[in-house]
């Protein structure tokens, strides 16, 4: 509920939200100037988990940066793997075998599912519903088991290689994935939608609250579900296709309301689309090698390369500048959460504290990705 603020500034107080606060999911700090429970001014303070990843990229060779990519957006690590691989492959002119491309898409979409499921759980936690967390983690556990089987890790994947992937998928993974999709499809309407989405308290707390207009989205550079919840039909997988996405049939859910409920529904619909993509990719999976022949030490030609991928949070851009040496000259990341969060200061103005936190939850923040 947004009300025009008419407060006397000697009656406001500063509320320090974070860096340790249950709602900020990490070490985000927001300096809130409050008038009672209304926010007069919100000022996100970043940098509490800044680890100089971009500088680290310059200090090692191309392959050595690979594990770092998983430690930024730790919830959709494979998309970061993918973005970095794409950038380096474009720089070095590496052709990726088709089977590897399909495996990449399958694993990235599975990772997107884990990310959205975890977001759903954490978002409900923000709204005070604790039980969905346990149900969601049950589903996520199955996905993590499958991903562990093929990638060897459960959270910070380092699975992609320049020119392919590290490990082939086997029949058990394929049957397990099909079984999981069947299970999630049967659970989605009952547990996710009947119990939570249709809940009157949830509807009242999300509908019409946290309005982010299309104009604001464009101004702040919001992407991903945040932009699609405000009516912007932009998905890197469709607009600047990469990998084998053009060969797969999927929709981009777009809602025009721009409120927290729209962002919620975009993510819920995206889960279904991810399942569709995984199913199609598993059906079309060709035989062949999973990795191209790539020299151990890469020395791409000098130049400026750009790759962008759609992560669970939006458009991740990787700008790779090479000088012909074995190390990247510069790696600049355009992380989606940073732009999405930048809208918070403007949108939260005039909101009540709990609504602002619901808005923050609906942005799906991953703080290490903001600070890098």
């Amino acid at each position: 509920m947004t009300v025009p603020i008419q407060c006397r500034h000697d009656e406001t107080f500063v509320l320090n939200l974070g860096p340790q606060h249950p709602a900020t999911h990490g070490v985000l700090r927001v300096k809130l100037t409050m008038d009672g429970e209304y926010i007069v001014k919100a000022e996100p303070v970043l940098g509490y988990i800044h680890r100089m990843h971009e500088k680290m990229a310059e200090d090692g060779n191309f392959a050595q940066f690979m594990p770092n990519t998983a430690r930024m957006d730790y919830l959709h690590a494979l998309a970061y793997n993918h973005g970095y691989c794409l950038a380096v492959e474009r720089a070095a002119g590496i052709e990726v075998p088709e089977r590897a491309e399909y495996i990449r898409v399958i694993t990235v979409e599975m990772n997107r599912l884990t990310s959205h499921i975890l977001w759903w759980a954490a978002f409900l936690l923000d709204l005070g519903g604790f039980s969905p967390l346990l149900y969601a983690f049950d589903d996520r556990e199955h996905l993590l088991d499958l991903l562990e089987r093929v990638t060897g890790s459960r959270l910070t994947y380092c699975y992609f290689r320049f020119g392919g992937v590290y490990n082939d998928i086997d029949d058990e993974f394929i049957t397990g994935t099909h079984a999981f999709i069947k299970r999630l499809r049967s659970r989605m309407p009952r547990l996710y939608h009947d119990l939570v989405t249709g809940n009157i308290i949830l509807q009242k707390r999300l509908k019409g609250i946290g309005l982010l207009t299309e104009e604001q989205c464009r101004r702040f550079g919001c992407t991903g579900p945040v932009a699609r919840g405000s009516g912007i039909n932009y998905d890197v997988r469709k607009n600047e296709p990469y990998s084998v996405y053009p060969e797969l049939d999927f929709d981009v859910p777009v809602y025009t309301e721009g409120d927290s409920m729209a962002r919620y529904m975009v993510r819920m619909d995206e889960m279904e689309q991810s399942m569709r993509i995984i199913e199609q990719a598993l059906d079309k999976l060709p035989d062949g090698p999973i990795k191209a022949k790539v020299p151990k030490i890469l020395k791409p030609a000098a130049g400026d390369y750009w790759a962008s991928v759609e992560t669970a949070r939006g458009d991740l851009g990787m700008r790779l500048v090479c000088d012909g040496g074995k190390n990247p000259y510069r790696l600049k990341l355009r992380s989606p959460t940073f732009c999405n969060l930048s809208s918070f200061a403007e949108v939260a103005e005039g909101m009540i504290l709990a609504d602002a936190l619901a808005y923050m939850g609906s942005l799906d923040l991953v703080i290490p990705e903001i600070d890098r």
Binding site: L15, L125, D126, N199, L202
Partner: protein, 333 residues
């Protein structure tokens, strides 16, 4: 009535034991209930099925230092947790658990209970104020506005019952509903008109919602909304100060359940008119308590202004209409 000195002493021991066991074991029930709802096992380590967990928790809390942070109002900070317990404990004295199982038969026991319930709110207010923490202060402010808003429909609903019964004595209210569930105030088919039978379930729902809100339970737990206000008024409390707040919350739940049982569910009356006794009373309050726990672990939290809107815009008009219609029916029939 027997006025021997032993009666108060006996009841004091009995009620303290009842209150203490409830305060400790409702926590265990809540954890087990939540675990069952969430497909976990809950506490399992201490004793069979974790039955000794409340004792272990109590020992842990008592062995901790009672930390008083700098900049707090020392006296109020220490008094608040005690104030959370006292009204709930005192209320127990006038609650009739069965015929003549009551520490003190007070003629105006309904009034006394509601007076004590309002004092319970002061604990949250003082705790939030004295902590010197902005989050606690917001929690205190929320708690006061919430309690103010919900006491009105609650009291108006009670007035309808008092009008029907013609007494403010809890025991009389129960005796008025004896003889099977068709006589209970929740659905009075026999003693009253059909119109009354339609009004009373609405009153019951209003009263139930209000008592959940009064005891600061989810989905109305505005004062301790952990994703917004960390732990609300309990943020700065540790050790047994925190423990007392928690016990006070559970005791308030028990008192609320007792009140609903007495006012609407016929107290110690059996649903089929057989073997009335204290066990029926206990069964009813534990069913109500389970419902409250069930609600907490199913629904997300509502919003403070939505909560106030619910009270001022829906519950108060409805309860006033109820009161008016009840008065009219009493006059007409």
């Amino acid at each position: 009535m027997d006025t021997s000195i032993w009666r108060p002493i006996l009841y004091l021991i009995g009620f303290m034991a009842f209150a203490g066991l409830n305060a400790a074991y409702l926590g265990w029930c809540e954890r087990k209930g939540a675990a069952r709802i969430q497909r976990r096992t809950g506490p399992m380590e201490v004793g069979f099925q974790g039955l000794l967990q409340p004792l272990a928790d109590g020992l842990k809390l008592m062995s901790k230092q009672l930390l008083v942070p700098d900049g707090v109002d020392g006296i109020l900070y220490r008094a608040a947790p005690i104030l959370a317990m006292i009204p709930a404990l005192t209320s127990m004295a006038v609650i009739p658990f069965a015929g003549n199982v009551q520490a003190r038969a007070v003629e105006l026991s309904v009034l006394l209970l509601f007076a004590l319930a309002s004092i319970g709110m002061m604990a949250v207010l003082l705790g939030g104020w004295a902590s010197g923490n902005k989050y606690s202060l917001i929690a205190a402010a929320r708690s006061v506005s919430q309690n103010l808003a919900y006491e009105i429909p609650m009291l108006v609903t009670v007035i309808t019952i008092v009008m029907l019964t013609g007494s403010m004595n809890l025991e009389d209210i129960v005796l008025h509903q004896q003889g099977g569930f068709w006589n209970w105030n929740i659905f009075p088919l026999v003693n009253h008109s059909i119109a009354q039978a339609i009004i009373m379930p609405v009153s019951f729902i209003i009263f139930f919602i209000c008592s959940v809100a009064e005891t600061n339970r989810a989905p109305f737990d505005m004062a301790e909304a952990e994703s917004e206000l960390i732990a609300g008024h309990m943020t700065e409390y540790g050790s047994m100060g925190f423990g007392l707040f928690m016990m006070g919350e559970y005791l308030n739940m028990v008192v609320g359940a007792c009140l609903i049982t007495i006012l609407f569910l016929g107290g110690w009356d059996c649903p089929f008119g057989l073997f009335p006794g204290v066990w029926w009373f206990l069964i009813k309050i534990y069913i109500l308590l389970f419902t409250v726990i069930w609600i907490r672990w199913t629904y997300p939290r509502t919003q403070i202004y939505k909560l106030l809107n619910l009270s001022w815009k829906i519950l108060i008009p409805f309860s006033l209409a109820n009161l008016l219609m009840t008065a009219a029916f009493i006059k007409i029939f």
